[in-house]
């Protein structure tokens, strides 16, 4: 109890604008160490093709970690393990709303393109997972820890591999730049305080769920528009670094801009993202002539087309 009060007091201090984070983190580290269940470091380059990561990371339901551990970590940087656990919970919930397309060739193709683009992002510590969601909705999602989803509706708009690379690059940028984690961190103070007051959180799953809200609603809340603009810039750059022509993402934005405004398939997208016209305009200011000398491939012939 005393501990919790101290936590509460410290939380209030960081609320009031004192640079939050590392001191508190370090202070708490000693108390957590004995309880901490150490996870194996995720493989940088998994040597097997299938469920290695699934084996390395037990399903969230079986993890028992002190309720406060995650809450405390909120004041510092999330560890890779926490990042992955948050992303896994969000993704599992999202998949509860919309399942994956059952097309092994498609999903494998998207993972190959995605991993190649992600290699240019500077986050080699992550095991990236890509999935095409079985819905007509035109959208794409990213969750912390390297979980990336593209809807079948968006995939159908694509004409070549460079466009896919650009779309995946945008989502990879959200993960690489930790956009969702920054949002969670801002709301986590309130959440953590609530938990201390209620003393209800029983395990880390509950904590993660409390953090992200109901189901996958975090995906309907969206990010700050500047995070979207930044992801557009990095998305183009990641695709270009991967050897694709850089114009894939802008071309997809043009496709979306040309859709009827009342198309139901884009209603969630427009709720959570600036309008494509604004995104094109913002990109234009940054890009100008900077990519004129970059000539990549579009690989239309290799692009996997779905029915």
């Amino acid at each position: 109890m005393k501990f919790k009060l101290m936590f509460l007091a410290l939380s209030l201090v960081s609320f009031s604008g004192v640079a939050s984070g590392f001191d508190l983190d370090r202070f708490l580290q000693g108390k957590q160490d004995k309880e901490k269940t150490t996870q194996p470091a995720p493989a940088q380059a998994p040597s097997t093709t299938t469920t290695q990561e699934g084996v390395a990371t037990p399903p969230p339901a079986k993890q028992k970690i002190d309720a406060q551990q995650l809450g405390f970590a909120l004041f510092g940087d999330y560890s890779l393990e926490e990042e992955n656990r948050i992303g896994r919970q969000i993704s599992g919930n999202l998949l509860g709303a919309v399942p994956l397309v059952r097309d092994d060739a498609l999903q494998r193709y998207v993972n190959l393109v995605g991993n190649w683009v992600a290699l240019q992002s500077g986050r080699a510590d992550i095991t990236w997972r890509f999935g095409v969601l079985d819905t007509d909705d035109i959208n794409a999602f990213a969750a912390p820890g390297g979980y990336i989803f593209v809807t079948r509706g968006l995939y159908r708009l694509l004409d070549n591999e460079a466009e896919l690379a650009g779309v995946l690059g945008h989502e990879i940028a959200h993960v690489a730049r930790k956009h969702h984690l920054k949002v969670l961190k801002q709301s986590s103070l309130i959440s953590a305080l609530g938990q201390v007051a209620g003393s209800k959180a029983q395990n880390s799953d509950q904590l993660v769920q409390n953090l992200i809200g109901n189901g996958a609603e975090i995906m309907a809340r969206g990010l700050d528009k500047n995070a979207e603009y930044e992801a557009d810039r990095y998305g183009m750059v990641f695709a270009a670094r991967a050897g694709y022509e850089p114009w894939g993402l802008p071309e997809v934005l043009q496709d979306m801009a040309a859709l009827p405004a009342k198309d139901e398939r884009t209603s969630l997208l427009y709720k959570t993202h600036p309008h494509p016209a604004d995104r094109i305009s913002e990109l234009g200011k940054s890009v100008d002539g900077r990519l004129d000398a970059v000539h990549g491939k579009d690989l239309a012939s290799r692009f996997y087309r779905i029915q």
């Binding site: 469920t51 998949l95 819905t135 189901g215 040309a258 009827p260 405004a261």
Partner: protein
């Protein structure tokens, strides 16, 4: 006017399948029209922000457009395709509503194709089986590199793009 709307609606139908070809567009910032898809080619004209253009074709980062009597090439990111004019949602909504009224057949084209909604996402329950399925498709770094090599994709150095400077945005075209 009515004809224009129907024409435009038909165009946007085509646009959905083969985007940015012979489609209406709006200029997003003051920019030049070049005679070739290159900023070192001769300048054929200038267009102001908000001007309407007709998009004829695309090539790399360039669009071939007609603006008034001038035909030439503009930067892909200086133009938006579609009906919505300059702006984001506000302008688009108005035009969207108008074209929906003028062409009921277009509504049929997208009816039945539902989007995701907030309630579905909010009510979603954790699905461990789907997550396990996702894990089945994970590929290794080595596999991704082999896949890239098969298409002769080579990693290249491209510097990060700067954040735009809003205050100076309108003057950048003049210095070109």
């Amino acid at each position: 006017m009515r004809n224009t709307l129907i024409f435009a609606a038909t165009l946007s139908l085509c646009v959905a399948a083969a985007p940015a070809l012979a489609a209406p567009g709006t200029v997003l910032r003051n920019d030049k029209i070049y005679s070739q898809p290159s900023s070192s080619s001769a300048v054929a004209g200038s267009v102001p922000k908000g001007a309407s253009v007709n998009i004829l074709s695309k090539q790399g980062g360039w669009l071939r457009v007609t603006a008034g009597k001038t035909t030439g090439w503009m930067r892909l990111l200086s133009v938006r395709a579609g009906e919505g004019g300059l702006g984001g949602a506000g302008v688009g909504d108005v035009v969207g509503a108008a074209t929906t009224r003028s062409d009921p057949s277009r509504v049929v084209a997208v009816a039945g194709l539902r989007g995701l909604n907030e309630e579905e996402l909010k009510g979603a329950k954790f699905n461990a089986a789907e997550l396990a399925q996702l894990d089945m498709w994970v590929v290794t770094v080595a596999q991704a590199k082999t896949f890239a090599g098969q298409a002769s994709l080579v990693a290249v150095k491209v510097p990060a793009l700067p954040e735009p400077k809003p205050a100076k945005a309108s003057s950048s075209w003049e210095s070109n």
